[in-house]
Symmetry: C2
Subunit: 113 residues, 2 copies
DNA sequence: CATCTATATTGATGGAGGTCTATAGATGCT
DNA sequence: AGCATCTATAGACCTCCATCAATATAGATG
């Protein structure tokens, strides 16, 4: 089952308890967000004007080895937060806004106002 | 520095890249959400009508040892997602809606509509 | 005080994950 | 073809963490 489907079928945390299956899927995505490097990578891609970022630009932004960055990108891609496309020598990563939006909705709390 | 403060000072991922310090703080909270048991615990507390749940009720909802549940509750409390209050023999946990709300805002994506 | 219940802490263990080096694969250029 | 560059994969190392059994702490009650 696609992770995005699980997110779409999971009620907001504040509405009703998650099933074990839903929790397992949702946890995979949050676990991907639970690393500072991945969070920074995601924010770099998500906030980029053109919408896409070359791997080389991301690698330059960190003092980490290239394989380590590649590993983090794979994790973010596997949970459906990023997609990638190769064009000639370079690979460009893009945000999947639907996944991020579903996560945001999941955490939404009834307005305390 | 309080984690909630860090969340309040962190821009939405889609707006600008997180600093290393912001990412470290935010990652701690998402890491806490990156476990299926903790997600279910959080949803149980967040969706409870009265707003508070006794530890014994949570323990009953899982086939895990009592110390394991206690450990997960501590993790959720340490990152500011839950608070606890002891009343006589029992300890009651409550959601901290501000923290969840800040997380939700952090993941908000400009409406694709 | 003694004891029972509810919850937290400690210490141990097995497995997951972040990082690195080395290497492989893919693309373009000469 | 051969080489240089960009990215991904494989394997190793080390740390972190989820879980448990055992024990400690706190409150109620006899």
């Amino acid at each position: 089952m696609e992770l995005l489907e699980i997110l779409e079928c999971s009620p907001p945390l504040a509405r009703e308890p998650l099933s074990a299956g839903q929790a397992a899927g949702v946890a995979r995505v949050f676990k991907a967000l639970g690393d500072p490097v991945r969070l920074r990578i995601l924010s770099i891609v998500a906030s980029r004007a053109g919408g896409e970022v070359c791997v080389c630009d991301i690698t330059d932004a960190f003092e980490l080895s290239q394989p380590t960055i590649s590993h983090h990108l794979k994790v973010l891609k596997d949970v459906g937060l990023l997609t990638s496309e190769r064009r000639s020598s370079w690979v460009y990563y893009r945000l999947v806004p639907e996944t991020l939006g579903e996560l945001s909705a999941l955490l939404t709390v009834p307005t305390t106002v």
